[in-house]
């Protein structure tokens, strides 16, 4: 659930009015052109035809449910809280075709009920089930005694209800309103696509004349309606706190509100695919960004560029203020930890202190959940808590460090050029030392100093400083490289002896470190090797050197006695399944990183044997430069040399590139399953 941010009393800030004024009137004069509401669907008007939805390109005999309409409306109202109240209305009508969609008939709506001015109100709730019986629409009203309000935790209550009298073919319909104290980033965004096909998805927003919003659209679907109109409105806002504590101020705002409406019809159900960072990136969606406030005299530009946003964040007590202010207790506690004189070693110790001693309770957070001191004492906190604390400790020790905001992969891509904090969900830290910049994440166990988890490589990140700075973190900028090598030579009596070594990729190492103990890791790494050989002297290096990948080695022994030997030169380490199982692709493929995987085998021909058959060398390119697979094999002086290298030079593949990508991997799988055949000499 979303973090709740402190209220910015924008009106009050803008007006800077003296306390002797009681009533302030704004008049925004313009030509009113009221836009007609022509919604295709009206609440409670369920028709016989709604039960018989014909098959179409988006609905077939397998469709489990059809959303006949989903209509949202965000509107502002006056209030006595010194700012607007935002009323969000939603109405949804769903035709349930199969039992397996009955889950849709149980609705859970979280509302914020914390003990502050943001507490939301749930109202105007109505719900009914409709069944078609003998050609007549029968309505069963929802029994309000079965509406449950469950206190989820101290901040949220979940409204829960389930529809009565549902069976295959029922229509369920509900509506509700949530009223919340307006916070300027709080106009809800709207998703036009969901799990099931939607026949009519509509969102309407009415914006008071004081505000101007930028509208951000995502997705490829064409809008069936995309209209802007105006409507005369009058809002009364009463201010009773702050400057107006003693007297009370009334703002009267009259003028043309802007009414915008969007409709998309006939949207298919969203089907997710593997190798997609976040389905959210592909769902048609509308979101909002405030950029102007009209005061009584002048207009204030809310420059949501990163410099101004940084400035606000740096003043925020739940963000920058926490580390800019002097914190004597930090100094005291760090003292015994930091006897090292080396600047780099000291910074690393601070980082390790947080990484190894603090628990990350939530890896989605932008602001502090508690004061730094209590996070420090509790030894736990969100990703924002831990990395802001890290930044504070570093600054406190005289380092040049700043927090960095980013959006993780599953959270979705950010819109370039807009400083919309809602689009960000993660904080890391940047530190500059001797001309080198380090990005640090102390919230992930066993993460190396200067390393970030894969999920952070999702586009742009922003360093929050007086002059905000963009850092590009793309999946293309990380490469997972692995090199493994096996050598084998003839020992006595049909036996071969040799060794194997492997330098793992960094992220593979991280996951091994977090999953296994040293002894388990030994078993794990060699587990997949073909079972016919003896493995001994297993060794693993860099297990606790978190900045470096793990490397492993062992000695091998193999016996040959059969007349014909079918020999897997990759010892079971080849790719066995094509990662792209589906034969069709709708969305692009997003790989977590670039790949560079090399395997080398040097072996003598087993004594007493000759090669009867050997795989042919092969080489294939993916597009021009996107990938390369090489399989080089040769025999020289009684020795077989094999080198198999898989190099993927790109992480993002458009749907049109899918087939070539799939074929490329099919070739890799085929080549890596080929065998050498040895025959006993007569």
């Amino acid at each position: 659930m979303k973090e709740k941010r402190p209220l910015l009393r924008l009106l009050a800030i803008v007006l800077k009015t003296s306390q002797y004024f009681f009533v302030i009137c704004f008049c925004f004069i313009g030509v009113s052109s009221f836009c007609q509401d022509k919604t295709g669907v009206n609440f409670k008007k369920v028709m016989v035809s709604d039960f018989n939805i014909p098959f179409s390109s988006i609905i077939d005999s397998n469709t489990k449910a059809v959303v006949l309409a989903n209509i949202g409306n965000s509107d502002f109202e006056g209030s006595s809280k010194g700012t607007f109240v935002l009323a969000y209305n939603e109405f949804k009508r769903v035709l349930l075709l199969k039992k397996s969609a009955f889950g849709e008939a149980t609705i859970e709506i979280p509302i914020y009920t914390g003990k502050d001015e943001f507490a939301e109100v749930f109202e105007n709730f109505e719900a009914s089930t409709y069944n078609l019986e003998n050609g007549v629409v029968i309505e069963t009203r929802f029994d309000k005694n079965t509406l449950f309000k469950e206190k989820y935790n101290k901040n949220y209550t979940i409204i829960k209800f389930t529809f009565p009298q549902i069976k295959e073919g029922s229509i369920i319909e509900y509506r509700y309103r949530i009223k919340s104290t307006f916070n300027r980033d709080d106009i809800r965004s709207w998703d036009f696509q969901g799990k099931y096909p939607i026949l009519w998805s509509e969102y309407k927003v009415t914006i008071p004349p004081v505000y101007n919003y930028k509208i951000l659209k995502q997705g490829d679907f064409a809008y069936n309606i995309d209209s802007v109109g105006k409507m005369k409105r009058n809002y009364t806002v009463l201010e009773t706190s702050g400057l107006a504590k003693d007297v009370g101020l009334i703002y009267n705002i009259t003028g043309d509100a802007v009414v915008e409406k969007w409709v998309i019809k006939n949207i298919p159900g969203f089907k997710t695919e593997e190798y997609i960072f976040s389905p959210d990136n592909y769902i048609p969606k509308i979101s909002f960004q405030l950029y102007e406030i009209h005061g009584s005299k002048d207009t204030i530009k809310i420059e949501k560029n990163w410099d101004s946003t940084s400035a606000i964040l740096l003043r925020d007590p739940d963000f920058g203020k926490s580390f800019i202010e002097e914190k004597p207790w930090l100094q005291d506690d760090m003292h015994k930890l930091l006897s090292d004189s080396n600047e780099f070693a000291k910074a690393k110790k601070i980082f390790e202190f947080i990484r190894d001693n603090f628990l990350c309770t939530d890896s989605n957070a932008l602001y502090l959940s508690a004061p730094l001191k209590s996070i420090y004492e509790e030894r736990k906190g969100t990703v924002a808590d831990l990395n802001i604390l890290l930044t504070a400790l570093l600054i406190n020790q005289g380092y040049d460090a700043h927090p960095v905001l980013l959006s993780t992969r599953e959270h979705g891509k950010t819109v370039e050029g807009h400083a919309i904090l809602d689009q960000y969900n993660y904080v890391v830290s940047e530190m500059n030392l001797n001309g080198i910049t380090y990005l640090l994440d102390a919230s992930v166990k066993k993460m190396g100093f200067g390393k970030l988890p894969e999920k952070c490589y999702n586009g742009s990140a922003w360093v929050i400083d007086k002059n905000a700075k963009q850092v590009k973190l793309s999946a293309d900028s990380i490469t997972e490289s692995k090199t493994s090598m096996i050598t084998l030579e003839n020992d006595r009596d049909g036996e071969m002896k040799g060794s194997s070594s492997a330098d793992m990729g960094y992220y593979e190492s991280l996951s091994l470190r977090n999953k296994f103990t040293k002894n388990e890791m030994k078993k794990e790494i060699w587990k997949s090797y073909s079972s016919d050989m003896e493995i001994y002297n297993e060794a693993i290096e860099n297990i606790s050197n978190y900045e470096e990948p793990v490397s492993a080695s062992c000695d091998l022994k193999l016996k040959f006695s059969d007349a014909i030997i079918y020999f897997d030169p990759l010892f079971g380490q080849g790719m066995k399944r094509n990662p792209f199982a589906a034969d069709k692709r709708l969305y692009p493929v997003e790989m977590p990183y670039k790949t560079d995987d090399t395997y080398v085998l040097n072996m003598e021909i087993p004594s007493g044997y000759s090669i009867d058959e050997m795989p042919k060398p092969g080489r294939i390119k993916l597009n021009e430069n996107d990938g390369l697979f090489e399989y080089l094999i040769a025999v020289e002086n009684g020795k077989i040399q094999l080198r198999s290298r898989l190099h993927l030079n790109k992480t993002f593949f458009a749907p049109e590139e899918y087939n070539s990508l799939r074929d490329f991997f099919a070739y890799v799988v085929k080549k890596q399953s080929e065998q050498i055949v040895f025959k006993k000499k007569k």
């Binding site: 449950f148 935790n153 101290k154 603090f358 014909i564 094509n578 799939r662 055949v677």
Partner: protein, 633 residues
């Protein structure tokens, strides 16, 4: 003098306390294999009357490493019956120095409703510490008032793996004349019984228990872990009284809860008669009414107050068309009654791995309700929360176990049917062609029966076609392949039910074609994945729970001009764990492969473990043996 003495008294517990929980006091024998050590545990359960009790608990754990961290979070559940008077948490470092103390009002308070219910009234107080400097010690203390007794806590001195125990104690205090029932299970722990005025005090205690390791194929915990079951005789909750000392008494209590809750609205009664009056065979009537239930209701769980025990009445289910397991079962029994058929609610423990219970100790060992109609020779079982199972079939969720059948005479233990080797079958027929490049195209027909179809039954009824395909793809182990066509047909008429899967697929490069050879794996789809670790030290018996038979017949057309160079050896393993037979024949134009695997259920001594490992290893290897064909010269 007096003052000094008083001071000493005050000081003493403090001093001994601080010393007691220093981490370096722990003997090495308790550290072995352990993530945590239960330093001291005490649970005092005091029965004040058949309906009232108090509970005082203290848990002191020293956490040795990351494996033990989870006990640093303490969750305490409360609801309409149980209220928490007081609860505290304290954390100490290795030397016994206090690091943090948390009181009740500072603890997090969250809803206890999980995914399976719409709403419950259970909530949790949560106290969670975090410390990454090992070892450290946490100490939780709690006092509850219990108003309405339906069950007592069992005493499990050592319930978890990787945890050793230094000292654990369980105390029950009851009025002198109260009949406390208890039974040591997998052990012979007897309490020390003392008397104090009008009270009788039962004390169990265990000390210095080294940590246990988890073993694969071990019997379920309730068959191997020593514990003491404790249950009320007379009990009372929200005006309902019961006597749990016999299954009959327990059943009677539940019957009281059901009484008068079977009244159907008039329209439903009419519907029942409309559906059944013209049928003569009672089994046919059951089928029709069960079908009516499945079409018209679905599972929604609402557990509030006594509602956790007492079902919503039949009229409620009739108007809402939903209910939880007990409400739906009661509704089903009510429908049957209207049709003149006597059905019963049956209380049961659910879950594929929950087949064992202590049938000789009447107590609340259940979590689910089904219904049934007993006939002279057999019984028709009905799982009322399913909308897709056929009447009379239970699935592995509730099959093969004891359950409590409830009727007006009280309750009696019954046993649900077991599905065995001849029921749980998977019979696969593959007809395929391989060309010179090694590409395979295959049509596959598989019949899944009884418990072998349970999982699939859910998938095909509850997933979209796309998701079914996705699931199918994840279950097929082939390098690269396309599914051309797939289809499922469910057969419910004959019990146990079965599902037929027809599948057509193409797998490029299925066989590796090198210059002159073709490597073909004749076992296309059924390859055992079980590989047991050899070097394990075995303490517990081996229990194999599943019984099934898998038969594969494969016919693969091959291109001409090849001769056999290597052929997998025909296998015939007959062991007490199961049977495994394969045969591979290469004819001039085709390969004929046959595979049979039978898995038997049973219990075997720990010494059989290496035989079992070998059995699975041989299957693992044989399932992956290839035919090598070489071009005729």
């Amino acid at each position: 003098m007096k003052l000094v003495f008083a001071l000493c008294l005050l000081m003493m517990p403090f001093v001994s306390f601080a010393q007691h929980f220093q981490s370096n006091d722990i003997p090495d024998s308790l550290k072995k294999n352990a993530g945590l050590v239960t330093r001291y545990e005490e649970e005092v359960f005091e029965i004040k009357s058949p309906g009232k009790a108090t509970e005082h608990e203290r848990h002191v754990y020293t956490i040795l490493n990351e494996d033990g961290d989870y006990v640093s979070t303490y969750r305490s559940r409360y609801d309409k019956f149980t209220s928490i008077n007081n609860i505290t948490g304290t954390m100490y470092d290795a030397s016994g120095k206090e690091l943090k103390h948390v009181r009740k009002k500072e603890m997090e308070d969250v809803s206890g409703t999980g995914d399976e219910s719409l709403i419950t009234d259970s909530r949790y107080k949560i106290c969670s510490f975090n410390n990454r400097t090992y070892p450290y010690t946490v100490d939780f203390e709690e006092e509850d008032d219990i108003n309405g007794i339906l069950d007592f806590p069992d005493w499990v001195p050592q319930g978890i793996n990787k945890a050793s125990v230094e000292d654990t104690k369980f105390v029950v205090i009851a009025p002198k004349d109260y009949v406390l029932r208890f039974k040591p299970v997998n052990c012979s722990f007897q309490p020390v019984i003392t008397e104090d005025g009008g009270k009788k005090i039962y004390t169990w205690e265990r000390k210095n228990l080294p940590a246990r390791n988890k073993e694969i194929f071990a019997p379920s915990p309730i068959q191997i872990i020593p514990y003491v079951m404790i249950a009320p005789s007379d009990f009372e909750a929200q005006g309902y009284k019961g006597d749990m000392s016999t299954w009959e008494g327990y059943g009677k209590f539940y019957y009281e809860l059901l009484k008068g809750r079977d009244i159907l609205p008039e329209d439903i009664k009419r519907k029942v008669h409309e559906l059944t009056d013209n049928l003569n065979d009672p089994r046919q009537k059951i089928k029709v009414l069960y079908d009516y239930l499945q079409r018209n209701t679905h599972y929604i769980s609402i557990q509030l107050g006594i509602g956790g025990w007492q079902p919503f009445d039949a009229a409620y289910v009739a108007t809402k068309r939903y209910g939880d397991c007990k409400a739906l079962s009661n509704f089903m029994v009510s429908l049957l009654k209207e049709a003149g058929i006597k059905g019963n609610s049956v209380i049961i423990r659910s879950g594929a791995n929950e087949t064992s219970m202590n049938s000789d100790f009447p107590s609340d060992q259940f979590d689910h309700v089904i219904s049934c109609v007993p006939f002279e020779k057999d019984t028709v079982w009905l799982e009322c929360t399913s909308q897709t199972l056929p009447a009379g079939y239970l699935s592995s969720f509730t099959a093969n176990r004891y359950a409590l059948l409830v009727d007006e005479a009280g309750g009696k233990l019954v046993h649900t049917p077991k599905y065995g080797l001849n029921d749980n079958q998977e019979i696969k027929k593959i007809t395929a062609t391989i060309n010179e490049e090694g590409n395979l195209s295959a049509s596959i027909n598989t019949m899944y029966k009884a418990e072998r179809q349970d999982h699939l039954e859910q998938l095909i009824n509850y997933l979209s076609k796309e998701d079914q395909l996705k699931h199918l793809k994840s279950s097929i182990d082939l390098p690269t392949y396309d599914i051309v066509k797939f289809d499922y047909v469910q057969h419910k008429e004959i019990l146990p039910p079965s599902i037929t899967e027809t599948l057509e697929l193409n797998a490029p490069n299925y066989a590796q074609a090198s210059g002159k050879r073709l490597f073909i794996l004749p076992n296309v789809l059924t390859r055992s994945a079980i590989k047991l670790k050899q070097d394990e030290e075995r303490k517990y018996e081996i229990e194999l729970k599943d019984e099934y038979r898998l038969i594969d017949s494969v016919e693969i057309k091959i291109p001409g001009g090849f001769q056999v160079e290597a052929l997998p050896r025909d296998m015939k393993l007959e062991t007490k764990f199961g049977k495994y037979i394969t045969s591979t024949r290469v004819l001039p134009d085709k390969i004929i492969y046959y595979r049979l695997q039978e898995q038997y259920s049973g219990k075997f001594p720990p010494s059989d473990y290496s035989d079992l490992t070998r059995f699975y290893d041989e299957i693992f290897k044989a399932d992956r043996s290839k035919i090598v064909l070489v071009k005729k010269e």
